[in-house]
């Protein structure tokens, strides 16, 4: 299980990385943490003539609070995201999602940008980005642009970046007020890709009514999804009126591409997904009520 030969470019800056991508286009691939890419190369399930290593680029590292957003550099490792106080304070959903990602040896190498760019439907950070309507910063030699998370995940392992674009950073909106956050997922073993999972962020008003709520769904399609019908249904309603199980079922009611594999049928995933949403909803609202 050894990778086929490729050329290696160690980029010192985002610009340098973007230039290499511009030069080679489809024949180049960005190497960040490598925790997904290197196995695919080793198994010879894929091949690129050129790898552009961005793991050593200082400007892609780090976590900053900018106004009402937390901006996380693409090269920041899962481990750093998981232990960062600013993140824990302002984007707790990321902090709570981190322990579900693989194992600590993987989290030490894997990067937030890599996880989101890889766009695995079961990737926790991708789901959190979608849940919180984060913004993805893309850089290329043609210039920079911002992509809404809702437009970013375009298919199984596919994203909205052009071949010459680099994911530079992700901007996560900070929710304030009476908020609650929870992540629940179900995997065969600790650290495995989730069979189904849910991320829930909720904000309540002074009368315990749902001011806003966002539900992210993992492992329940070709991309991470939002539980839009459930969100729509409960917004403005008192928490006490909402049955968690119904909320969970409703969150999945419009999913049509739930996968089936060795680990379970689509209907099984639907059942588990609904349960994870219900459990996350219960935890998140409990937290918000206490806030």
């Amino acid at each position: 299980m050894k990778a086929a030969p490729f050329a290696y470019h160690r980029a010192e800056s985002a610009k340098e990385a973007a230039d290499v991508l511009a030069e080679f286009g489809d024949e180049a691939k960005v190497l960040a943490g490598g925790q997904s890419l290197i196995p695919l190369l080793a198994m010879r399930l894929t091949h690129f003539e050129n790898l552009v290593d961005i793991s050593g680029i200082p400007e892609l590292q780090g976590i900053d609070r900018v106004d009402d957003e937390v901006v996380i550099g693409a090269g920041t490792s899962h481990a750093l995201v998981g232990m960062d106080d600013e993140v824990a304070e302002s984007v707790p959903l990321l902090t709570r999602a981190t322990p579900h990602i693989g194992h600590f040896q993987i989290r030490n190498r894997g990067t937030l940008g890599g996880a989101i760019a890889h766009a695995d439907p079961a990737a926790e950070f991708a789901a959190v980005a979608l849940t919180l309507d984060a913004t993805i910063e893309a850089a290329s030699s043609r210039g920079d642009r911002r992509i809404a998370a809702s437009d970013f995940f375009t298919g199984l392992w596919e994203n909205a970046l052009a071949a010459d674009e680099l994911l530079r950073a992700v901007r996560f909106p900070v929710w304030s007020g009476r908020t609650g956050f929870a992540v629940h997922e179900f995997a065969r073993r600790h650290g495995d890709f989730a069979i189904a999972g849910a991320t829930v962020a909720v904000e309540l008003d002074a009368e315990d009514r749902v001011r806003r709520v966002a539900v992210g769904l993992l492992g329940l399609g070709s991309t991470p999804h939002r539980g839009t019908p459930a969100e729509r249904a409960v917004t403005g309603r008192p928490v006490s009126d909402i049955a968690a199980d119904e909320f969970g079922r409703l969150a999945l009611s419009e999913l049509h591409d739930i996968p089936a594999d060795l680990q379970g049928s689509a209907s099984y995933r639907r059942r588990v997904g609904a349960a994870m949403v219900a459990r996350a909803w219960t935890d998140a609202t409990t937290e918000a009520l206490d806030a």
Binding site: F104, N108, H190
Partner: protein, 162 residues
């Protein structure tokens, strides 16, 4: 494909050489540095046998390219015991608790547990099991390994260096 220069410090000793970019850190350690204590159990990042410390952090050396380790510090299982060969608290606890049988996965457990206890010297049972869940062992059923982590933690809390 042309080779690139790589300079790594492994267990405090510098190793210079040139490698193909596709060579993993694990293969580089085994083939070019003569350090065969790091084992390959799957080569796709699942089993944990190849775990080493890269700048002090536990990583899968099968999921790191040798060229990515250029200019960095690597600690392998060969570098865990003292220079005089005295077992570290983790190694000693593994032996006392029958934490290994065939020994193939052992280097990955030793390095992982060493990093685990450096981060969290007083882990709960749940933290121990979660911390071990990225390393496969097919011989022990994990019983002795879990006990070894507890014992090593006691040792370290009594003042031994991890």
């Amino acid at each position: 494909m042309h080779e690139l220069p790589v300079a790594v410090s492994v267990n405090g000793r510098p190793y210079r050489g040139t490698v193909e970019p596709r060579v993993t850190l694990a293969d580089h350690l085994r083939e070019n540095c003569g350090l065969t204590g790091t084992h390959l159990g799957c080569e796709h990042g699942a089993c944990g046998a190849c775990t080493v410390l890269l700048d002090g952090q536990a990583v899968r050396s099968c999921l790191v390219l040798a060229v990515q380790a250029d200019g960095r510090e690597v600690t392998t299982v060969e570098g865990i015991a003292s220079g005089e060969g005295e077992l570290s608290p983790v190694q000693a606890a593994m032996r006392e608790c029958h934490g290994l049988q065939c020994g193939f996965c052992t280097p990955g457990f030793v390095t992982s547990i060493t990093a685990l206890l450096a981060d969290n010297p007083d882990p709960s049972d749940e933290e121990i099991r979660e911390g071990l869940s990225g390393n496969f062992c097919r011989c022990t059923g994990y019983q002795g390994i879990v006990n070894a982590v507890k014992r090593a933690a006691e040792r370290i809390n009594e003042g031994a260096a991890p």
